[in-house]
Amino acid sequence: MGMKRGDRAMLRILIVILMASCVVWGIRFLTKAPDVLNAEIIQDGKLLRRVLLKKGDPAGEFAVEYKGGRNVLKTEDGKIAVIASDCPDKDCVKRGWLQRPGDSAVCLPNRLVIRISGKTEVDGVTW
């Protein structure tokens, strides 16, 4: 079938839009990864590191130090928890496993926050 100039232009526009859609959807798909959580380790207001939490991950531990203070964090099977701290209250340890977006543990004396990023049902929690 012979194509007219208008047809060809139309085809080109269509192909460009199709490709743009593919790229955008591709990025979305790659960045989404639903069963991987992203835990932010924040010390004194600064992002220290990110930890990826995947289902089925083996157990691992690491320590975070701050001006003589020390918290030990454990990751396992898509979860993260503070398992030891030298602070008096141990609120961070009592918090237990963090495993959903929005979950967080705070150690005030060691100025440490562990927070799982992602979309949450609420903008904040009052306590």
Binding site: D7, L18, V24, G45, V106, V122
Partner: protein
């Protein structure tokens, strides 16, 4: 040109147009999901007022947002240096050191907050009292020396807890605070609210259109929520771990403040001793409430009221709420039939109960 091709061309164009529109809609939706075109978000955290401070602001200009955030953190530090009982050079520490001796000249902000604290003391019949400082210090809750105080010394501290013996005087050369001998002012039950109000005012002044201020669980929101509809604030479940909420309030341009015994406590001999004291007894308030949430435009009011109503208990708390205008509340009460959540009328439609083990009822006398 064949007749067949000529006839199908308009249909071809129509189909092409339809596909184009469809693809464009999909592209737009996908971009929305990636956050393109949405307002930029900047948030910051710091440790002030004995807690964690978190501020999130939204807008188009990242530099402006960062600048406003910096100014907010500096403002919090400045106010803490005036109001904190733990900072030796603060206005409050100066007043406490001069108790019974001489009036102390304080900043206008300290004076305003102390006056408002004293007003709430009057209004709540002393259920809220900023002169409770000696009691707070004796228990030391939140410090390493937390312990049940000696009864004699506690009795002394309760005697000194009397807001009527503290006064603020505006003189030609400044504002002065006078307290009774041995009295200790502690603005712990109201300062976070006041600082929240000041930060919100600063952010609005800086041209920030929307944001959320979280001073250790004292929350204020202003402007449009980043999600469709209103802001959604979870209310801490009094019997579950931090971050688990029993309900959600959908609000805009208000402060939401909760008080409960679970916030801060220590354990001794199998009993828990929490940080909200009854100024009349000097002991942690024996409240029939498990938590009190106040929703008010003004965070200073919400902070003082959440503490006061917790101390007053359900009956007195409800009747005070009925006398107040523009104040909404959620009270969690421990009843024999279970845990009941009482919600004031103005909030009823904007409160969502999430906890399956609780029952919602209107807050009426």
């Amino acid at each position: 040109m064949s007749i067949k091709a000529g006839a199908s061309r308009p249909i071809l164009y129509l189909a092409a147009a339809a596909v184009t529109v469809l693809l464009m809609i999909m592209l737009y939706a996908a971009m929305g999901g990636l956050g393109w075109g949405a307002p930029k978000k900047v948030s910051g955290e710091s440790y002030r007022l004995g807690t964690i401070v978190r501020i999130t602001v939204y807008g188009d200009d990242t530099e402006k947002l960062n600048n406003a955030l910096d100014l907010s953190m500096k403002e919090i530090e400045r106010l803490e240096n005036l109001l904190s009982v733990n900072i030796p050079s603060s206005d409050i520490s100066l007043v406490n050191r001069a108790s019974g001796e001489y009036p102390v000249k304080v900043s206008e902000e300290t004076a305003v907050l102390l006056e408002r604290a004293l007003e709430w003391s009057e209004r709540t019949g002393g259920a809220f009292d900023p002169t409770v400082g000696k009691v707070v210090k004796l228990w030391g809750i939140g410090t390493e020396g937390a312990a049940i105080p000696d009864p004699e010394r506690l009795k002394e501290a309760v005697k000194l807890t009397d807001f009527k013996k503290t006064s603020v005087a505006h003189e030609g050369n400044g504002t002065f605070v006078r307290t009774a001998k041995g009295q200790r002012i502690d603005l712990g039950g109201i300062a976070k609210g006041y600082v929240t109000d000041k930060v919100r005012a600063l952010l609005i002044e800086e041209g920030i259109r929307s944001g959320l201020i979280d001073l250790g669980g004292n929350i204020a929101v202003f402007g449009n929520s980043p999600r469709p509809g209103k802001w959604k604030i979870g209310l801490q479940h009094p019997f579950m771990r931090r971050g688990e909420y029993f309900g959600i309030v959908e609000v805009s341009d208000v402060s939401v403040v909760t008080s409960g015994p679970y916030e801060r406590y220590f354990e001794s001999g199998g009993a828990k001793y929490h940080h909200i004291f009854d100024p009349l007894t000097g002991y942690p308030a024996q409240s029939d409430l498990a938590s009190v949430t106040i929703i008010s435009e003004d965070s200073t009011d919400a902070d003082a009221l959440s503490t006061a109503i917790f101390v007053m208990g359900f009956e007195k708390g409800i009747s005070l709420l009925h006398e107040l205008k523009n104040i909404e509340a959620v009270l969690v009460a421990k009843k024999t039939e279970g845990t009941i959540v009482y919600v004031t009328k103005g909030l009823s439609e904007n409160f969502i109960l999430k906890a399956p083990d609780m029952k919602k009822e209107p807050a009426v006398q």
